[in-house]
């Protein structure tokens, strides 16, 4: 059962969400295969918005050299680990290329920051950041990755790295890989019947009698409300 059919079933109001979810068990493979028809972008764009998206996608901001550095930095910030892939596995560099065009206030600090980084590497190693060895790169990153410990002369680098960290993290944790890693499990038809009992217990809470008496009995969810 695909998502739209699930919704239709919900609309009928007879099936419980639990039934639908256990009956499908095919959320992932169905949704990845399914491309929304019609609207080019497939996420409810108005014609003006779709046109803007298209124009931004066709435009190129970063040079291939800059993209290479962004990719290396992104994977230093979010590497692959036992839970999930790396920033570049989640296409974070592509996201950064798009977002600086979409929110142009990122453009100059990103371009200038990348250049700042290359100049630091050139002074130390006579090479660009991308040309440096992994050890040399980390040595330079360590100068700017810890805002409270960084030397005052590196403050511009700290500002750049903060921005790079923010964009990398946001790009990663809004990707399919990142959302799974984070453990966000909503955005799907559900029947909210309160905080799980073990979680309530963990924090020392319980639903009091008044709350239980007042709140929705989940089995009534499909019944039309009457007051008289």
């Amino acid at each position: 059962m695909d998502r739209r059919e699930s919704l239709k079933a919900l609309a009928l109001g007879t099936l419980s969400v639990g039934t639908i979810l256990s009956a499908t068990g095919c959320e992932d493979k169905k949704t990845t295969g399914e491309k929304k028809a019609g609207n080019a972008q497939g996420y409810g764009r108005t014609p003006d918005e779709a046109e803007r998206d298209k124009a931004l996608t066709e435009e190129k901001f970063f040079t291939p050299e800059e993209m290479k550095t962004i990719t290396i930095l992104a994977d230093i910030i979010i590497p692959a680990d036992e839970h999930s892939g790396s920033a570049s596995d989640a296409k974070v560099p592509e996201f950064i290329e798009f977002i600086v065009k979409d929110i142009p206030e990122h453009k100059l600090p990103m371009r200038g920051g990348l250049r700042w980084l290359d100049v630091q590497c050139a002074k130390r190693y006579n090479k660009s950041f991308a040309e440096c060895s992994p050890e040399q790169r980390i040595a330079v990153v360590d100068l700017i990755a810890y805002p409270e410990k960084a030397a005052p002369e590196n403050s511009q680098g700290v500002a750049f790295f903060n921005r790079m960290r923010n964009l990398t993290a946001t790009g990663f944790f809004t990707s399919k890989i990142g959302i799974k890693d984070l453990g966000y499990i909503g955005n799907t038809p559900n029947e909210w019947d309160g905080v799980p009992a073990d979680v309530l217990k963990q924090y020392g809470y319980a639903y009091d009698e008044k709350t239980l008496a007042t709140c929705l009995k989940i089995e009534d969810r499909g019944k039309i409300m009457t007051w008289d």
Binding site: Y43, I78, D81, I103, G183, Y184, W192, Y205
Partner: protein
């Protein structure tokens, strides 16, 4: 082609301008009474169930900007078409004052994305001048409106709980959803502080009210518009059924220029621009109902000048545009260390808070006149653009998994783990309070500026008084106490006097009302107590413009109740041939 104004051939009983809460309700009531209705909307058709327009259940990665607010003020997936600025439709501000005007140009208007907070005004809210001497009393009382609130509750659906609180009238509620984890923590903390923390009152169907709409399936995305109509928006819940009657002709992309009048001064219809062909048209009707939003309706009246109405239509008093007021708003966030490393479960719930805090204070003992309610947010939300920003301000303050302090910022596997650890451990509070309506807060026609249709635009003048600033200070003190009482750490620095305690610009809360206020005295009000213009008997305004005072409530439920009441009055007056 000659530049001409084309007349729509049909003569309507009623022409309604605007399809939001006020206009949608008017279209439903008037069409059900068998009247022929022209409903004009300045934006396109919108149906949240239309796959071309739907954003519900989309993932952040389906948007290349991951839901950022670049093109839509409240993010890519928000249902509102429009925003704080609309290309080609400017507005201006006077004497260095601030006002931000949110316009949503689409069927259903701003009801498509609003917070669904559906609060009745209480007895005191209609008679506040009698209580504290400030502002003005309404010409009607709670008892006049209560039967309409009752009907709106049953027609549209609102969850809540009977609480018997003074000035927070109970209604015909659907059962509320159980509180989320952070909401239980707020309840415990709030009750220690003597605050009432009670189930929210939102127009979301925990149980359905009719066969055309399905109950909520808990995706927490009401602001995106609901594909099963499980929440209230005027487009889905009022206009759609009204269209089925066959008595309503919907004109979309119809930007109304002015109200037309005859030599006797009566309204005869409206002139509009069809945005599709950019031609000028007129619609004729026996009754004109304005529901274009408080400021847009005032703009229409002020722009409808004639020999009979040299000061703008229905404006001999000069009151049109005055007494503009928006809710106050201030907010603060915090971090709850106890909620680090949370067990994961689907905590989406309904599209908004499950609990809220109505005003509890006694203003006679405080240094500001009117109250506010507190809204709250938190929990394990779907991440979108901005998620994870500012970790360098967080992860140096709390020990790592090994119990040892960490250096703020960083990179690598250890940083990656921090984002997991902090997920769902934040809380946010926002106050929404009453601003006292004043004559010197107003919108007027800018003498020098027109929009791309050649329509003169609005110019705003708005300042906060000490009452609002001191109220914001009280909000900040309360938010901080709540966060600390929860065992949390307030984020950033506490907003102080230099920022008016974080008090948002006027307009930001999108509750602007009062510009065509009702009253018994035609010299100090625009409308009578049935939303009918004192000077033009066949002209009505059924949006927030009619409000004498905004309470510490959200205005939509009162707009709906008053529009229902005014619409039935129109039917009655037409029958009696009084208009």
């Amino acid at each position: 082609m000659a530049f001409e104004i084309k007349k729509q051939a049909k003569l309507y009983d009623v022409c309604i301008v605007g399809s939001g809460a006020g206009g949608g309700m008017a279209a439903k009531i008037l069409s059900e009474a068998g009247l022929k209705v022209a409903l004009l909307e300045a934006g396109p058709k919108y149906d949240p169930a239309d796959p071309e327009q739907a954003t519900q259940l989309k993932w952040p990665y389906e948007s290349p900007r991951r839901g950022a607010s670049t093109t839509r003020a409240f993010g890519d997936f928000d249902a509102a078409y429009g925003g704080w600025q609309i290309d080609g439709e400017p507005y201006t501000k006077k004497n260095g004052t601030e006002f931000d005007w949110f316009r949503s140009r689409m069927l259903g208007g701003r009801t498509n994305h609003w917070g669904r907070i559906s609060l009745r005004f209480g007895e005191r809210d209609f008679k506040h001048k009698s209580y504290d001497g400030l502002g003005d009393d309404w010409p009607i009382s709670y008892q006049d409106v209560a039967p309409y609130y009752d009907r709106v509750d049953k027609l549209i659906g609102v969850f809540g709980s009977k609480e018997n609180l003074p000035n927070e009238p109970d209604g015909f509620f659907l059962p509320p959803p159980k509180p989320r984890m952070h909401e239980l923590m707020v309840k415990r903390a709030g009750e220690k502080m003597g605050l009432p923390v009670i189930p929210a009152r939102l127009s979301i169907l925990t149980r359905s009210v009719n066969k055309d709409r399905s109950p909520c399936f808990y995706c927490s995305q009401c602001n995106r518009g609901c594909t099963v109509y499980g929440d209230f928006s005027s487009s889905s819940v009022l206009v759609k059924p009204a269209m089925k009657s066959g008595h309503v002709d919907l004109y979309t992309n119809a930007m109304v220029r002015e109200v037309l009048t005859d030599d006797s001064g009566k309204a005869t219809g409206v002139a509009y621009i069809d945005k599709a062909d950019m031609q000028e048209y007129s619609v004729n009707a026996r009754v004109v109902v304005l529901a274009a939003s408080a400021c847009e309706s005032a703009r229409l009246l002020l722009n409808s000048k004639s020999a009979k109405h040299p000061n703008g239509l229905a404006n001999s008093s000069g009151v049109v545009g005055k007494y503009l007021h928006d809710s106050t708003g201030a907010s603060r966030g915090g971090f709850i260390p106890a909620l680090m490393d949370r067990k994961r479960y689907n905590e989406d719930g309904v599209g908004g808070m499950h609990l809220y805090i109505p005003w509890w204070g006694d203003n006679k003992k405080l240094d500001f006149a009117r109250g506010y309610h507190i809204e709250m947010g938190g929990g394990m939300h779907m991440p979108s653009y901005g998620y994870g920003f500012g970790m360098e301000n967080m992860n140096g303050k709390y020990p790592g998994r090994d119990g040892k302090p960490k250096a703020a910022g960083g990179y690598g596997a250890s940083l990656k783990d921090d984002y997991r650890r902090y997920f769902g451990a934040h809380i946010g509070f926002a106050g929404r309070g009453e601003c006292i309506a004043r004559e010197d807060n107003y919108c007027e026609i800018d003498p020098n500026v027109v929009d791309k249709y050649g329509i003169p635009v609005l110019r705003f003048h708005y300042t906060w008084s000490d009452h609002e600033v001191k109220q914001a200070k009280h909000m900040q003190d309360t938010f901080e106490q709540l966060i600390v009482e929860m065992g949390g750490v307030p984020s950033g620095t506490k907003p102080g006097e230099d920022t008016k305690y974080g008090l948002e610009n006027p307009g930001r809360i999108i509750h602007e009302v009062g510009t065509t206020r009702m009253g018994d005295n035609p010299a100090t009000s625009v409308l009578n107590k049935f939303n009918q213009a004192h000077e033009v008997k066949n002209l009505f305004v059924v949006d927030g413009g009619a409000f004498v005072s905004q309470a510490d409530k959200n205005p939509t439920w009162t707009i709906l109740a008053l529009s229902m009441r005014a619409s039935e009055y129109i039917v009655d007056q037409l029958k009696k041939q009084n208009i």
